[in-house]
């Protein structure tokens, strides 16, 4: 009998680890990072590096103090830090960014039990706290350093504000793709973000359902609600960054495909609603956070029926 090993599932283990998945996410974020350096200058490196280091430090110190196993090696804290840095303008004071990191890692991730136990996306909550605490600094959108010599009509507003005012036309599409317009670090260059998203899909880190459903429904609902330019709206603001990197977090999204579809459409509907009828700043953040909160219910409603199973009476 001693040859019989009894253990709990999973019995089969693939080569894929959290660390490898997070490394893929980081690789996918590289094009956007490179774009942010080109567009906003060297401070982008400083902010991203400090933010990632602060997140790792927070997680390490917390686990040390609480005598928990050290999990900083799985790189998830690095991803949170980089995403958080991508959500601030390049002029953001460092200490304010670190406050956001502490909130994201300690309050949202570690207090609820570490990786896999957070009920909402840590980076997004960090952003919300920074947004409400340092509203001035968070909305002090910087304009590309390389564009400084070319003064044009739109240099005073972000594309989203211009869309709300109905001042944006197709001529602007190229700049939206390249990201040479005002905004926060990681959100401006749509092409780089899409490249990262394609990489993630090819590596099968994420399924394209959520980003496509999210972007598509934002487009459709934006058109229904009478946005002045629904297509350009999809390429502006934090939507690309949110749809590809934030709304695809494993822990805070539904598990089934149909659930993911509902999640994506819900995010799109909320984003279009907020962008049209409320303030455009933070629309993506709040949409994803709100949908994060209803994920348990979506999971319950879309739970697959086991093969041959009958409904409990």
């Amino acid at each position: 009998m001693s040859e019989l090993t009894v253990s709990v599932s999973p019995h089969l283990r693939g080569p894929r680890t959290t660390q490898k998945i997070m490394l893929d996410v980081l690789i996918a974020l590289c094009p956007a990072f490179a774009a942010s350096i080109i567009i906003f200058g060297w401070r982008s490196i400083l902010l991203t590096g400090v933010s990632a280091a602060a997140c790792v430090a927070c997680e390490y110190i917390w686990e040390r103090l609480m005598k928990q196993p050290i999990t900083v090696g799985d790189l998830s804290a690095v991803v949170t830090g980089v995403l958080l840095a991508f959500n601030v303008p390049s002029s953001m004071p460092l200490w304010e960014l670190i406050v956001g990191d502490i909130v994201a890692i300690i309050c949202v991730k570690m207090l609820f039990g570490g990786i896999g136990c957070n009920f909402v996306n840590p980076a997004l909550v960090g952003r919300v706290v920074m947004f409400f605490s340092f509203t001035g600094d968070m909305t002090n959108y910087q304009f590309p350093s390389m564009m400084a010599d070319k003064v044009d009509a739109l240099s005073s507003a972000t594309p989203l504000a211009a869309i709300r005012a109905g001042e944006l036309s197709w001529d602007y599409f190229g700049r939206l793709l390249l990201g040479t317009h005002g905004g926060v670090l990681g959100e401006t260059c749509a092409l780089a973000l899409i490249a990262g998203g394609v990489y993630l899909c090819v590596r099968r880190v994420i399924k394209p359902i959520i980003p496509l459903a999210y972007l598509g429904s934002t487009l459709v609902f934006g058109w229904i609600f009478g946005s002045s330019h629904p297509v350009l709206a999809v390429f502006s603001g934090g939507l690309m960054l949110g749809a590809i990197f934030m709304a695809t977090d494993y822990v805070t999204t539904p598990t089934t495909n149909i659930g993911k579809l509902i999640f994506g459409i819900g995010c799109g509907l909320l984003t279009a609603l907020m962008r049209t009828f409320a303030s455009s700043a933070g629309a993506v953040t709040f949409s994803i956070l709100l949908m994060n909160l209803v994920v348990p219910y979506i999971n319950d409603l879309t739970a697959p029926k086991p093969f041959g199973g009958v409904e409990a009476k």
């Binding site: 200490w95 309050c107 706290v129 409400f132 605490s133 340092f134 509203t135």
Partner: protein, 226 residues
């Protein structure tokens, strides 16, 4: 005397109205943005609580049980009006900053709750100490929270600038910050009690009216009576 001390401390720690019984949270969350406001609110509530507890305890054998709630409200409203008038006359700025929350002490669940759970069944001296303990417990929580919220949220204490402009955590002065601190305070208290080895089980006063009670208790008097 030891008995009275126990009743007094009961309100401050073991049955802290805000953190353990979770009563009166509305005014705590709303008013604790400034220390002076928190202090004023705590003092006003303590005064009303002590006075109404004493008066209701005195009247406990006269008030018919069918109309007890309206009677309590009349007693409580009397003292709240008193506080309001005095405050408006002598502390106008505090009165303005507390706004509607001062009048809302009338329906504050701590005051009504202690009247129903304690004062209507116990003698005057006990009720006095219970009101005082509960009032101090409430005041301690609201002051503790308002110190943190005002210091780190607005950078001031009693309106005097401590932290220079530009280094504030603005979210603390807003509703989410209040809820966050409130949750942290409850967590710290529960953790401290758990460390002391005390079983964490808030014991509410029982009036035998189990239909209107949400707490789970072993002695369901109503069920037994039937």
């Amino acid at each position: 005397m030891k008995e009275k001390m126990k009743i007094l401390l009961n309100g401050i720690f073991k049955e802290n109205p805000v953190l353990i019984l979770a009563l009166g949270c509305c005014s705590v969350l709303a008013v604790s943005v400034s220390v002076s406001g928190g202090l004023g609110m705590g003092a006003a509530l303590t005064f009303v609580l002590v006075c109404s507890n004493v008066v209701i305890s005195l009247l406990r054998n006269i008030i018919p049980s069918k109309v007890r709630i309206p009677c309590y409200i009349v007693v409580i409203a009397t003292f709240v009006t008193l506080v309001e008038m005095v405050m408006e006359a002598y502390l106008k700025s505090l009165y303005d900053s507390l706004g509607v929350f001062l009048s809302l002490i009338v329906v504050n669940c701590i005051v009504l709750g202690r009247a129903e759970m304690f004062a209507s069944k116990r003698n005057v001296v006990d009720s006095f100490f219970d009101g005082l303990g509960m009032g101090i417990g409430y005041t301690m929580v609201i002051i503790g929270m308002s110190v943190i919220r005002e210091l780190f949220g607005a950078g001031t204490l009693f309106g005097i600038r401590i932290i220079p402009e530009g280094y504030q955590l603005g979210i603390l002065t807003q509703a989410p910050g209040g809820f966050f601190l409130f949750g942290c305070a409850i967590a710290i208290l529960v953790a401290a009690m758990a460390k002391k080895g005390k079983k964490f089980e808030p014991k509410m006063g029982c009036d035998g009216n189990c239909a209107a009670c949400h707490s789970s208790c072993d002695d369901r008097k109503e069920a037994e009576a039937k």
